[in-house]
Assembly symmetry: C2
Homo-oligomer: 389 residues x 2
C-alpha cells in the first residue's frame, strides 16, 4: 500500500500541477480563491499565528429575502474556523482536504461526485488512528462551506451529485462539443446533466425556436406530454426534475430563462410539496440560499394544479387525497414564506386547499381522459395566462 503522511490526503503518484494557461476564466477565478485561502493559512503558520478561515454562516438566521431581486440571499454573518481550537481542528483539517481535492480536480480538468470527494478525502490519520471523515454526512457540509467561502457554485468546484430529469423540445444545444437536438430525442429524451455550466452546455439564442419552457414535476407526467408531442404542437421545451428538481435542472431552467428569455411554466401537484418545489425553483432553497442568485427564477409561473381545479375541472370525488396533519402544517409554513405572505392569490390558493381538506395530483386529471392534461388543461391555462406567481 502507498505510504501515507500524517494529515495529508492520499495523493496520487503524480500530483497534478495547475497549468494556468489551460484553465478557462471560471476555473482561474476558483483557483485564485483557493490560493488566497491557502496563502492565508500558510502565512498565519509562518507568522506563528493561529490559522483561521472565515466561513459565511449558512444558518437560517443569516438568510433573508431580497424583495427587489425577489430571491433568497445570505446576510453578512460569518463564523471563524481555527486550527488551534479543539472543537474546530477537525473541521479545519477537513476544509483543507476538500479544498486540496477541488484544486486537484481543476488541475486535472475532471469532475467528481460528492461521494467520490468523500472517498478521495478520507484516510486514517497516522498516530491517532482517527479517520479524516467518518461518513459523507461530514464531507457534504464542508463542500457547502467551501462554496460560500470561495463564492463558487458546487458545479464550479467540479463536483456533482446523482442527476435526475430529462428534456425534449424545440431547442438545439451543445453539450461538451456534441450537438444535441432536443426535438429528435424520441421517447427517452436528453438526460439533463448535473453540471450545466456554460463550459459544458452552450446555449445559443439562434438555435432555440421555443416560446417557453413547461416544467412538470414527475417523469411519468413528462412522458405523457412527450408522447402527445405537446412541445411540438405548442412550440416549447419540456423538462422534469423527478420530483424536487436537482441543481442541474434548476440551473438549466435559470439559464433558459436568463440567457434565452424563455418564460418558465411549472405544472406541479396541488399539495404542499408541489408548492415547495415551485418555491425552490422561484426563490431558491432556504438551506442553500447562497446559490439562489445563480439558480432562482423569480418570474417562474405556477400554472397548476390549483385548489380551484376540483370544482373548475369537475373532477371525480374519487381523486381527492385527504390532507394529513403534516400537510396542513407544511401548508401553513409555506403561506408564511416572505415571498408568499403578501401575495393575495397565493394566500387564497393555500387557504382553499386547507378548506378543501384534500390535495390533488397532476395524474388525477387522467380521470377526465388520458390526454386531458396535454390537450385541454395546460394549453387553456397558458393561453388564459391563468397562473400564480
Amino acid at each position: 500500500m502507498a505510504k501515507r503522511k500524517t494529515g495529508v490526503a492520499p495523493l496520487e503518484d503524480d500530483v497534478p500541477v495547475v497549468d494556468w494557461k489551460k484553465l478557462n476564466e471560471k476555473d482561474r477565478r476558483t483557483v485564485s480563491a483557493l490560493r488566497e485561502l491557502a496563502v492565508d493559512v500558510a502565512d498565519a503558520a509562518t507568522e506563528k499565528k493561529d490559522p483561521v478561515i472565515r466561513i459565511p454562516s449558512r444558518s437560517l438566521s443569516n438568510v433573508m429575502f431580497n424583495e427587489k431581486a425577489q430571491i433568497l440571499e445570505m446576510g453578512d454573518k460569518a463564523t471563524s474556523r481555527t486550527l488551534f481550537n479543539l472543537s474546530q481542528a477537525k473541521s479545519f483539517l477537513q476544509t483543507m482536504l476538500v479544498a486540496e481535492g477541488v484544486n486537484r480536480l481543476i488541475a486535472q480538468g475532471k469532475t467528481l461526485s460528492i461521494r467520490g470527494m468523500y472517498y478521495q478525502s478520507k484516510h486514517t490519520i497516522k498516530g491517532i488512528q482517527e479517520e479524516t471523515f467518518n461518513s459523507q454526512d461530514e464531507s457534504d457540509p464542508i463542500i457547502e462551506d467551501l462554496e460560500v467561502v470561495l463564492e463558487s457554485l458546487r458545479e464550479e468546484l467540479h463536483l456533482y451529485a446523482e442527476r435526475k430529469g430529462e428534456m425534449v423540445g424545440n431547442i438545439v444545444l451543445t453539450d461538451r462539443g456534441d450537438r444535441i437536438d432536443c426535438s429528435r430525442m424520441g421517447s427517452g429524451g436528453y438526460g439533463i446533466p448535473s453540471i450545466v455550466e456554460p463550459e459544458v452546455i452552450e446555449l445559443d439564442p439562434q438555435k432555440c425556436k421555443a416560446d417557453y419552457v413547461l416544467h412538470v414535476e414527475k417523469g411519468t407526467v413528462w412522458q405523457r406530454f412527450n408522447e402527445d408531442k405537446f412541445w411540438k404542437k405548442h412550440n416549447c421545451i419540456l423538462t422534469h426534475g423527478g420530483g424536487q428538481p436537482p441543481r442541474g435542472v434548476r440551473r438549466l431552467l435559470y439559464r433558459l430563462n436568463k440567457e434565452l428569455g424563455l418564460p418558465i411554466y411549472c405544472l406541479l401537484d396541488n399539495d404542499p410539496w408541489g408548492y415547495y418545489i415551485y418555491s425552490v425553483i422561484k426563490q431558491g432553497s432556504i438551506n442553500l440560499a447562497f446559490e439562489s442568485k445563480r439558480m432562482a427564477v423569480p418570474d417562474a409561473k405556477f400554472i397548476g394544479l390549483r385548489s380551484k381545479d376540483f370544482e373548475e375541472c369537475k373532477l371525480s370525488p374519487s381523486v381527492r387525497i385527504a390532507l394529513n396533519d403534516n400537510d396542513r402544517k407544511r401548508a401553513r409554513q409555506i403561506a408564511e414564506y416572505p415571498w408568499f405572505v403578501n401575495k393575495k392569490k397565493w394566500q387564497k390558493e393555500i387557504a382553499l386547499m386547507l378548506k378543501n381538506g384534500f390535495k390533488l395530483e397532476v395524474e388525477s386529471l387522467i380521470s377526465k381522459g388520458i390526454s386531458y392534461v396535454t390537450e385541454v388543461y395546460a394549453p387553456q391555462r397558458i393561453a388564459a395566462r391563468d397562473w400564480l406567481d
Copy 2:
C-alpha cells in the same frame, strides 16, 4: 359532473373502438387475449354461470429455476378469481376495470403510467359508496395479474412506471422515428425510456459498432466513465440503471444481448445489494418471474467489485464499510439462490465478503485516483476475462 354508471369505469365521452387494421402484430395479440378474457366472462353470464378468471400464481412456491435456460420461470399453479365470491368479487371487478383500461390504451395508441391507470380505474361505486380502488397498492398487483393472464409484459399493455437510467456509446438506434446517435450525447446521455419494445426502439446490427455493454450501478459512476470517454476508447456502450435497474433498462440490456449479440458486463458494488442487482439482471426477479424470459440475460458477467479487490487493488483501509446484520443475512440468502449455489466462484466470493467483514463501493476505487476505475480496473478485468458468471 359526468354521469357514472354503477360498476363501470368513468369513460371518456368518445370511448375509442379498437381499429384492428391500425394495430401492430403485438397489439393484435394483446387485444385478442383481452377479448378472450372478456368473452369468457360474458359467456358465463349469458349461461348464468359464475364468471371466473384463471390467474397463474405469482407466489414464491410457483417460481422455479430453469437450469437449462438459466432463468427463473413460473410453474403451472393457478388460482381462480370468481365474481360470486365475497372475498374475490372486488378483485374480479378490479381486474375487469384494468383490462378495460388497457383495451382503451391500445385503441387510442397511447401509453399510461401505472399511477395513471390507478386514477383512470378509480371511481365510487354507486349505491354502496365504496371506491373501486383505494390506493395504487391495489391496482399495481392487478396489473401484474393481467400480465400473467394475458402472457404480456406490462410494456405490451401500454403501461409504464417512473424511468431511470442513461445510455451513451457506439450505437445508433431509432426511438419513435427519431435517430438517436448515442456517441453524440455529451455529458447528459440518452434517457432510457420505460418502454423499449421494438415498436418504440428499433435496433439495427448494422448501426452498432460496439463490442460490448458496460453496465454500471449508479449514475455518478456512469458520469465518471462518460467523462473519461471510456466507451470511445474501448468501443462499447455504457449504461446505468440508477441502482436496481428499472424494467426499461433490463429489457434494453436483454435486447442488446439477444438481438445484437453484445456481452453485458456489470460493474456493481461489492455488497449484497450489488450481488442482488446482478442476480436480477442475469436470472430475473423472484417476484416477477414471468417476465424473465424476455428480460433476463443469463450470460451477463459480474466484473466487480469483488471481495478480493481490497487486497488485490491495495485499497486504503479507510474505504471499508463494515457489514451489518442485515448484510450478512442477505449475503447468506443470495448464496443459496439456485443459480449461485452450485457455482464455486460465487460461493467463494460471498464467503470472502463475510470473512472480510466489510463491503466496498465502486467509488472506493477513487482513493486510488479519480480515473483508476476507468483507466485501470475495468479495462484490466475485461481484458483478463476476470469475472464471475
